[in-house]
Symmetry: C2
Subunit: 335 residues, 2 copies
DNA sequence: TTGTAGGCGTTATCAA
DNA sequence: TTGATAACGCCTACAA
């Protein structure tokens, strides 16, 4: 389907009886245009339905007015119901909207996807790059940073090159949670840890250890990948090894939810026999049976702050190398 | 931070000792280049780390190689844990990735956001537009279609202009669900309907009516907006009006989940006293108490199919005006 | 305050 | 098969 040519600056200029330059000035809000002319141009713009061609503008301004949000995750995790990625997306979208920039979403779960993202971002097709999460010592953020491309990560990058990031106080939050378990008399406290190639997984385990060890208690650890399935498996594992455990701290609410179910399946009552605390405070947490106590992290705020940092970076400002947001222990009925 | 200039076609051409045109041909895979020259150009590209400037390319090709995905939703709904939007996003992302196109995500919950989306999309900054949902008779899809901009919607558009869409068989799915309730002896069947400015909300209610009416039973309807809160409120309403109801069909799993909780709060047992069926089959559905029976819709597949249709449209092919995917009744323990 | 003119990096049309 | 060369639509010195 061939469509009517869209009007260009030139067309507007002709219609308004001025030069292209003047139209450009009006469109870009320059103050050095006389009011009557400005009005005439505005009218011409409206009549013709003129909209600037971003490609042309980008070509000369060297900006693209778009930002990439990269999610280096296997498909299954990105959009399960754990709300992490959606929360980041939403926070970023809000801030970018305010800044009139576009959000380009890139999934990079597979090696091919990761490579695609690398090509695209290093090719400077965006003004900056946000990483919604990171696995292992992914070299890409560092590489981009060294190329002078603005980057901000969610979670402290494990790679060598320092890259600005926004994270939450995992350790503090988990510490408070486990401390609460100790305070309420629990003494056989296990944990379902998250993936150990991610900072969140690592630090939440550290937080558990930091509370357990000083209390002279043994560490009982099983590993999951934040999903429900892995949480169920880990719970069975813990129960097999330590049938007498009296509390579980799970590094994600999804895993905690699975633990709740599994414990019930084995006839254990929560919190009477076993207390459970999760991490995240997803919406479902208030609706589990019993309602889940958890460590809340402000996911959407992470997305917002990352974006704000990135925009400052892209504007040439220098920014804090790290921003750490607080976590909060939410007590419901499971502990 | 000033960065080393990125290499241009010109630079590669000089390095390889050929003209810009030849480099362009090699980069774009033209077959009319002699092998030795092609090799030399490839080498120069690698050595210089050349990446084409998409803005420049777009300027001359008139394509942007990007597609907008618009979500005209209030922030609260887009990223609750109902997985609808994330599922659409993921399906679209997969297909776009395969087609080497970028996904530009646009939230349009507020009037300002909606207007922003309109400016951007009508400005032809993307090769096509996907609507993840629609409220009322939103004129935007029709307007874009008339401008010759490829558009595909999720859910039949209520506006006047016909726009290609992908949807699921709401009515059939709901019909089967209510029929199942009837078959198991329920006779006082209420429904929590979805928002009546959305096709999904409307048709799921129609499906309920289409099963209830022929059975000579009364329609008991309360309205929600697909969220848990609204589902809880609607359940209270229904119970107040019809304390003796023996089944509830809810137009979303989130609302069904809230119904489950509310029923329990009033001392009713599910499914003994009241049967409950939801719609969506979100991940949580298998984890509610009791596990939720529901009508499954293939959300991710909707996203994929929409995108494929859009790409065909953008390629100049003509496509089916509508694609309707099947739904499936999943029986668990709540009914 | 306004206009002229050059150039941003590609692709595409011709010639050679 | 390769190379000039002209667009593509816009911004921005610089000149008037």
């Amino acid at each position: 389907m061939t469509t009517a040519q869209r009007p260009t600056l030139e067309a507007v200029a002709r219609r308004a009886g001025v030069s292209r330059a003047t139209v450009s000035r009006v469109v870009n809000g320059s103050t050095t245009v006389a009011e009557p002319i400005r009005a005439a141009v505005r009218r011409a713009v409206t009549e013709l339905g003129y909209v600037p061609n971003l490609a042309a503008r980008s070509l000369v301004t060297q900006r693209t007015d778009s930002v990439a949000l990269v999610m280096p995750e296997a498909a299954t995790r990105v959009f399960s119901d754990d709300q992490y990625f959606p929360g980041i997306i939403r926070g970023a979208a809000q801030e970018l909207e305010a800044a009139e920039k576009q959000l380009v979403l890139m999934l990079a779960g597979s090696p091919a996807g990761h490579e695609r993202v690398e090509r695209y971002t290093t090719g400077r097709h965006v003004d900056g790059v946000l990483f919604a999460s990171l696995h292992g010592a992914d070299p890409l953020p560092g590489r981009l940073a060294r190329l002078g491309i603005p980057v901000v990560c969610s979670g402290r990058p494990l790679g060598g090159t320092p890259v600005p990031y926004v994270d939450v106080d995992h350790i503090g939050g988990v510490n408070r949670a486990v401390q609460h378990l100790l305070d309420s008399g629990r003494r056989r406290i296990a944990t379902i840890a998250g993936p150990q190639d991610m900072v969140g997984g690592i630090e939440r385990l550290t937080g558990y250890q930091a509370a357990i060890t000083p209390a002279g208690l043994p560490e009982w650890v099983a590993y999951g990948d934040f999903t429900r399935e892995s949480g169920a498996a880990a719970t069975w594992q813990l129960l097999a090894a330590h049938p007498d455990l009296d509390a579980i701290f799970a590094a994600s609410d999804l895993m905690a939810h699975a633990a709740l179910r599994t414990l019930r399946a084995t006839g254990r009552r929560v919190p009477d026999d076993v207390a459970v605390i999760g991490f995240d405070d997803i919406e479902t947490a208030a609706y589990t049976d019993p309602p889940l106590s958890t460590v809340r992290q402000p996911i959407q705020e992470i997305g917002r702050r990352m974006t704000r940092q990135l925009l400052r970076l892209a504007a040439g400002e220098s920014i804090e190398p790290a921003l750490v947001l607080p976590t909060e222990l939410i007590l419901r009925d499971s502990a």
